[in-house]
């Protein structure tokens, strides 16, 4: 058909103008798509990261902070803060739990953190309140994974080897003693004292006295004083002091958070099936879910095995847990965690869903009244407010500027389409005059020009959609990582423990620009509408001119 060939020739042979128009349209469309995509990406990131509770079917979380509890919600361990402090410290320092010195050990310590535990049964108080749709409990613990060799502590103390010298003069026997000795010798028949033997016993020479069989008898004749030496020696008092160096050990310690969830209540919980990005949700038994970021850091995946103090858990799914007070790296069934952490029947967080969102603040008040000051009831908004980081800034920016930017881009794309088309048509007024002189009706001329503009808009729009997809992809690849973080437990610096045990949960969301068909259609439609409108307007304006006037136009 002639008109189609004419259209093709017009577009192909005026390549520079066509390319300019196409490029303008394409860039406009791509901008609209990319900006709207980024805006949507931020919205989505915000929704998942900054509105953590709603994604886990929860309106309110209830925790117990370590302080005196006047309400009916008593800590399971009883005893309040001091108890908690002891629990945390003993777990950290008690090396005796590890095994015998020198043994290799792998052990996970589960620390209650700053949230008091309480019997699960007490959550029933909350479920009885009006306006509460459902309630579930969870146990979130700080865990320290330690691995290494149980240190030996050896103190080596060497004592003894002292030489004690005692010098003492012994008085020689007195005359009386000597006489008594003489008598004794005689009586015993030992030849002593007489001249006959030519032998004379000298006082002091008694050591060898006799030398013969009578030596025993001779010993008897010695005065008692010389028979036995008796003295009391008190050695000098000394204190042995040795610095015992810290035991050499290779214990490696890493911490993470672990949460127990009730697999029988998937709709509400610290993590729900909607956060599972890979694999499936917990059913029961020894299954575990890992936060995707934690799994990545530790090269774990679905199917990996996790050994926790002798119990092997199989990773059945990866989750993208919501940020907020109660997120964790590892999720296992509540019962299992209770067993591992020796917290049977205890929980430290209650998740509450109200029957309707309008009831949330009412329910929050009710819970606060029922449980007293020790209970902290956080609403979704409060949790969201505690989150900060670049994602929040970007999301706020997007919230403020996203719509404006998208509108500006859309208007720019539309205007660009209009202007480029108008200018393109404007340059052809004389050609339009010629066509009219040849006998083309106004309708034919307009149809031809509009068809050209439409064809340009379609191609430009398609290229723009392609560019937009590419730009959105590029944003996904090169886009900055936006992080959102929230700190729990550090709020009250009770006993200085707050800092040590506070958990900072950070979610890093790589900025992406999710595209939908409707978004692409919107960009494409804008180009189409712009081209059509401008084409029609320009063509009508030119075609309405009297041919004589059109012909007079200087090209």
């Amino acid at each position: 058909m002639f008109y189609v060939r004419y259209l093709r020739s017009e577009l192909l042979r005026r390549r520079a103008r066509t390319i300019l128009t196409l490029a303008g349209l394409a860039v406009g469309v791509a901008l609209v798509i990319a900006i709207s995509g980024v805006s949507r990406g931020l919205d989505r990131a915000q929704k998942t990261a900054l509105d953590p509770l709603s994604t886990i079917g929860t309106d309110l979380t209830v925790t117990l902070s370590p302080q005196q509890n006047t309400g009916g919600f008593g800590p399971g361990g009883g005893g309040g803060g001091r108890e908690l402090l002891d629990a945390n410290q003993s777990a950290v320092t008690d090396l005796s739990k590890l095994g015998k010195a020198g043994d290799h050990f792998v052990h996970d310590f589960f620390l209650p953190g700053t949230q008091l535990t309480f019997p699960q049964k007490q959550a029933k108080q909350i479920s009885a309140l009006s306006g509460v749709a459902s309630v579930t409990t969870g146990l979130v613990l700080s865990a320290v994974h330690q691995e290494g060799v149980v240190p030996k502590i050896v103190a080596k103390i060497r004592t003894g080897g002292d030489t004690i010298n005692i010098r003492r003069r012994i008085k020689p026997p007195t005359t009386a003693e000597f006489e008594a000795m003489q008598k004794c010798f005689e009586k015993a028949g030992v030849g002593g004292g007489q001249q006959t033997g030519g032998q004379r016993v000298q006082p002091g020479g008694f050591g060898a006295a006799g030398g013969g069989p009578d030596s025993a008898a001779a010993r008897k004749c010695l005065p008692a004083r010389l028979r036995k030496f008796q003295a009391t020696i008190t050695t000098p008092e000394q204190t042995l002091q040795q610095l015992i160096n810290p035991p050499q050990t290779n214990i490696k310690s890493s911490s993470y958070t672990i949460a127990g969830v009730d697999p029988s209540q998937p709709a509400i919980g610290l993590v729900t099936p909607s956060q599972v990005t890979n694999g499936h949700y917990l059913s029961s038994g020894t299954e575990a879910l890992l936060a995707a970021s934690y799994a990545k850091r530790h090269s774990l995946k679905v199917g990996s095995e996790l050994d926790l103090n002798g119990t092997t858990f199989t990773v059945v799914g990866l989750v993208k847990p919501p940020l907020g007070g109660q997120s964790a790296d590892v999720y296992i069934p509540l019962r299992q965690l209770q067993k591992l952490a020796d917290e049977k029947g205890l929980a430290n967080v209650v998740l509450v869903r109200a029957t309707s969102s309008a009831d949330v603040s009412k329910v929050q008040k009710e819970i606060e009244q029922t449980l007293g000051s020790g209970a902290q009831v956080a609403s979704a908004k409060q949790v969201a407010d505690s989150i900060n980081g670049s994602l929040v800034d970007a999301a706020n920016l997007s919230h403020d500027l996203g719509l404006v930017l998208a509108l500006v881009a859309a208007a720019a794309a539309f205007l660009l389409a209009v202007l480029l088309t108008l200018s393109s048509v404007g340059k052809r007024v004389r050609e339009i005059g010629t066509l009219k002189a040849l006998g083309w009706s106004q309708r034919l001329v307009v149809r031809q020009i509009v068809a050209e503009c439409l064809a340009t808009a379609v191609v430009g729009g398609l290229v723009g959609v392609g560019l937009g997809i590419a730009a959105a992809g590029l944003v996904g690849v090169l886009g900055p990582n936006l992080s959102a973080s929230t700190t729990t437990g550090g709020g009250d610096a009770l006993f200085g423990l707050g800092q040590a045990l506070s958990r900072t949960a950070t979610t890093s969301v790589s900025l992406d620009a999710p595209l939908t068909v409707s978004l692409l259609a919107l960009g494409f439609g804008l180009a189409l509408a712009g081209g059509l409108l401008a084409g029609t307007a320009g063509a009508l304006r030119a075609a309405r001119l009297r041919p004589a006037d059109a012909l007079r136009q200087v090209e």
Binding site: Y3, R5, S9, R14, T434, K436, G439, S441, R546
Partner: protein
């Protein structure tokens, strides 16, 4: 005598340029018989082109009436005028006015297309006409690849393609050298005689005007010579 092809009665055409009103044609009375070859001569600005555009229904008079084949063009709507231009008139312009993105063949087809002929008919008819102007071998060339004389031949082929009753040529030799110009006028007159077409030729070239059966002289929007049938 039959009804004249054209009958112009007190035709005036004025233009507004800012506050000033310029009179391009002032009370022109003129009749042209079928088959005549008429030259309109005069200095530039004398109203020749305006007269030609009124004859070709490219413009409407500010005053007076243009009757074509007995029909008052003032009474016809834009669509009917377009149809008249398509079937009754053929234009040849000084600047050729070929569509630059179309080949010689397609330029001829551009005039034929609105008649509703199918693609094969268009091509066959356009090729025949290009043959008549001696450009059969240039059919696939773009205007930019043709010489001025060749471009004007294409324009003539285009003007004649729908078999119009009148060929209106506005300075057809104005952009050509004298030899080529002479050839073009020769071609134009020869073909129109062959097809028994009326030709109105605007020119300021005496040699060109001399080939016409009748020469009209214009000055300041008025016809100088009495508009008598030769």
């Amino acid at each position: 005598m039959d009804t004249p092809l054209y009958d112009l009665q007190h035709v005036t055409r004025t233009f507004r340029r800012g506050d000033a009103t310029i009179t391009a044609l002032e009370s022109v009375d003129l009749t042209i018989a079928p088959g005549e070859i008429v030259a309109v001569e005069g200095p530039s600005g004398s109203g020749k082109t305006t007269l030609l555009q009124l004859l070709g229904a490219l413009d409407r008079p500010s005053g007076g009436h243009v009757f074509f084949e007995g029909r008052d063009l003032n009474a016809l709507g834009d669509h009917e005028l377009a149809d008249l231009r398509l079937r009754a008139f053929g234009f040849v312009f000084q600047t050729f006015n070929l569509i630059p993105t179309l080949t010689a063949l397609q330029n001829v087809e551009a005039k034929l297309a609105p008649t509703g002929a199918n693609a094969a008919e268009l091509r066959e008819r356009a090729l025949t006409l290009l043959g008549e102007v001696g450009l059969a071998d240039r059919a696939e060339h773009l205007p930019s690849q043709l010489s001025g004389g060749e471009q004007q031949r294409v324009a003539i082929a285009r003007a004649l393609s729908t078999g119009p009753r009148v060929v209106l040529a506005d300075e057809p030799t104005g952009n050509l050298d004298s030899t080529t110009g002479a050839e073009i006028v020769e071609l134009l007159t020869a073909l129109s005689e062959e097809h028994r077409q009326t030709v109105v030729l605007v020119t300021h070239d005496h040699d060109v005007a001399a080939r016409a059966e009748r020469v009209l002289r214009m000055q300041d929007g008025r016809l100088l010579a009495p508009a008598a049938v030769a």
